[in-house]
């Protein structure tokens, strides 16, 4: 029996803290603004540009390529988020993930108990390992529309959309990302930790290319990485109540009017009655539950997180780790980059055609997104004269043993037609769920297939995702 190896945990790990010289590596904070917040200027503050910290495309590019050249796992010490000590104090079991030491679970709840707790109460996830970016300037929207198929013109200010960074030529997905429009010329973008080096190199190259071919004032933009900033996800049905309880009025009453996909800068009351700097609260998340993703300036990350935990109390809110995050997102039908999506997958193959904005589908566009020449013809199936795709991402419900990543998918004739990319027993449904790629034609819901687990075939049925209905707050349905 091979067990997943874990790093030190609990007090034992805490006691060895002092002997870790590398721990401040991730904490070189580069605040957008060092000035204390004044109420009322929250929006301006969040959007304020600090030239001191902005990374020019060229410097970013060279830095990124240097990083890229070194092996991720072995010679670079694991980084820590600002909440590292707090995790240990809560009995976290830490594991390496995306170059960071991240909590996989906590001593108070098993992975499945934590999963259930998120769906019945609320959980707090540290996602500070993810990479937060800011793109600003008159050319920011056009640049982002070049590298993603997002429709950013019509996107309302203070709204977010899921999108994908794309490779030129192939239309393969570099990374999946959330793009938030802070203003017409300012965007907040979050990408995956595991893709950090690749993404920064990609963005550096793309910015250089953009600057070379668009030298008008209107095309200028700056890119900044918000290193050291905290990012936590508050997820579950009690999220709104919990966040409301620490909000500084008058925002308190307005969370009900902040709908899925929208965001707002707010300030909160922390432990000693102090006010936080403005934090950006975005309604949404990676669990299918109602909730918020909260971006916090470096100096306030611990205080805001503690304020959430303390005001809610352990009966309402618990820390949750990567273990529960993975089973929750799989139930919600969401992709994990590097597993369910990769550089060779296009959005259409990945069942993400919906990320391609309606106004981005014109083949004659003046600012086509990367790979549009490959991706747009795929939108029309072969049967209707388009290029179609040969494989598609689908959901599966598997009988007997859970099918994990790498399990072969075969059709009724025993022919291999695909592979599982994620899978686990669903704590909510009590069934084994998985996602994977199957040959076009076998992708329709209800199709009976088989997956091979430890040499034995198990029945699998193509099933619509999400497996567990999403509970996003979109306002009350019209009567």
């Amino acid at each position: 029996m091979k067990l997943v190896r874990a790093l030190q945990r609990g007090r034992k790990a805490a006691s060895s803290l002092q002997s870790q010289p590398a721990r401040s590596i991730a904490l070189l904070s580069r605040p957008l603004s060092a000035a204390a917040a004044s109420p009322g200027s929250a929006v301006a503050q969040y959007q304020q540009q600090s030239p001191r910290t902005a990374l020019a495309p060229s410097s970013l590019s060279s830095k990124a390529s240097r990083r890229h050249g070194s092996s991720l796992a072995s010679d670079e010490p694991l980084k820590q988020t600002p909440l590292y000590d707090l995790h240990l104090a809560h009995g976290a079991k830490m594991v390496p993930f995306g170059g960071f030491q991240m909590p996989v679970q906590y001593s108070s709840l098993s992975v499945s108990a934590s999963h259930h707790f998120t769906r019945s109460h609320a959980s707090l996830f540290d996602v500070g390992h993810m990479v937060q970016h800011r793109f600003s300037g008159p050319g920011a929207a056009a640049f982002l529309e070049r590298i993603t198929p997002a429709s950013l013109g019509p996107l309302p200010v203070r709204s977010s959309t899921l999108s994908t960074l794309l490779w030129p030529g192939t239309g393969g997905i570099v990374d999946d990302t959330i793009i938030t429009k802070l203003a017409d010329d300012a965007f907040y973008v979050v990408t995956n930790a595991a893709c950090r080096d690749k993404d920064l190199k990609y963005l550096g190259e793309q910015l250089a290319e953009w600057t070379k071919s668009n030298n008008s004032e209107n095309a200028k933009l700056e890119h900044e990485v918000l290193d050291g900033w905290g990012l936590v996800a508050l997820q579950g049905p009690l999220s709104e109540e919990i966040l409301s309880s620490i909000l500084v009025a008058p925002e308190e009453s307005k969370l009900r009017e902040l709908y899925f996909g929208q965001c707002r800068p707010v300030m909160v009351k922390t432990g000693g009655g102090e006010l936080s700097q403005p934090i950006l609260v975005s309604r949404g998340g990676y669990t299918g539950e109602d909730g918020f993703e909260i971006s916090i300036p470096p100096a306030d990350t611990v205080a805001v997180t503690e304020a959430l935990l303390e005001s809610a109390g352990p009966e309402k809110l618990q820390f949750a780790g990567l273990g529960a995050r993975d089973s929750l997102r799989l139930e919600a039908g969401m992709c994990l980059y590097g597993h369910d999506l990769d550089d060779t997958t296009t959005p259409v193959e990945g069942a993400l055609s919906w990320v391609i904005g309606k106004d981005r589908r014109d083949p004659a566009s003046k600012n086509p997104f990367h790979g549009a020449e490959v991706i747009l013809p795929q939108l029309t199936p072969k049967s209707k004269g388009g290029a179609g795709v040969s494989r598609r991402r689908v959901g599966l419900v598997v009988e007997g043993a859970p099918a994990r990543e790498g399990a072969e998918i075969v059709d009724s004739a025993g022919q291999k037609i695909g592979v599982v990319t994620s899978g686990c027993p669903s704590p909510t449904l009590g069934k084994n769920i998985a996602m994977g790629y199957v040959a076009d034609g076998s992708h329709k819901a209800g199709t009976e297939l088989e997956v091979v687990v430890r040499g034995r075939k198990r029945k699998a049925v193509v099933t619509k995702m999400p497996f567990v209905p999403s509970k996003y707050w979109k306002g009350t349905a019209p009567a």
Partner: protein
């Protein structure tokens, strides 16, 4: 690892109302030493019955006093590390295997782990209870009685006895998992 006693007691009463208690009671640090409950029982009350040894892959195996039969299971440490077990793939009855061969698997939400044969042996019977109640593995992983979380009963020959001699006793295994943690 040692938190498993507390976890086990609490699991029995796991209901929504106990969550607060669960969170409160959970210690930050796991007490650093403890002895597997069932192993302790084996040694203290029935010393002549059988000896239990452990593999580095976290299986346990009991060898009968006459060295012809044995029982296989996974250790309490392993059960705790895996988390809530939701599926157990049992070995094939009648199958003869070498030490280290994969004979089954244990699946939890977070991972799947192969069960490897700790010694050369032939599977004579399997614990069907685990098909119905895989969670038994978490409750009593080292219990070889009816209702326990044992995996398989096996017939053992000389090769198996030789393999057995190279495994860790309870004391050594405790030290081994202590250093792993």
């Amino acid at each position: 690892m040692a938190a498993s006693i507390a976890t086990r007691c609490l699991r029995a009463t796991r209901a929504p109302c106990s969550l607060f208690q669960l969170a409160q009671a959970a210690p930050i640090a796991r007490p650093s030493t403890r002895f597997p409950l069932s192993a302790f029982r084996t040694f203290s009350t029935t010393p002549l019955r059988e000896i239990r040894k452990y593999t580095k892959d976290h299986e346990w195996v009991d060898l009968s006093a006459d060295k012809t039969s044995g029982v296989i299971g996974i250790s309490e440490y392993a059960a705790e590390e895996l988390g809530d077990v939701v599926y157990v793939e049992l070995p094939e009855e009648g199958k003869a295997v070498q030490a280290g061969d994969a004979i089954g698997a244990v699946e939890s939400v977070k991972s799947a782990a192969d069960i490897n044969a700790p010694i050369a042996c032939r599977v004579t019977s399997i614990n069907m209870l685990l098909e119905e109640k895989p969670g038994t593995i978490n409750q009593v992983p080292e219990d070889d009685s009816h209702g326990g979380g044992w995996i398989a009963k096996v017939a053992v020959d000389e090769a198996g006895v030789k393999d057995f001699e190279n495994l860790m006793d309870a004391e050594e295994y405790k030290a081994f998992t202590g250093s792993e943690e």
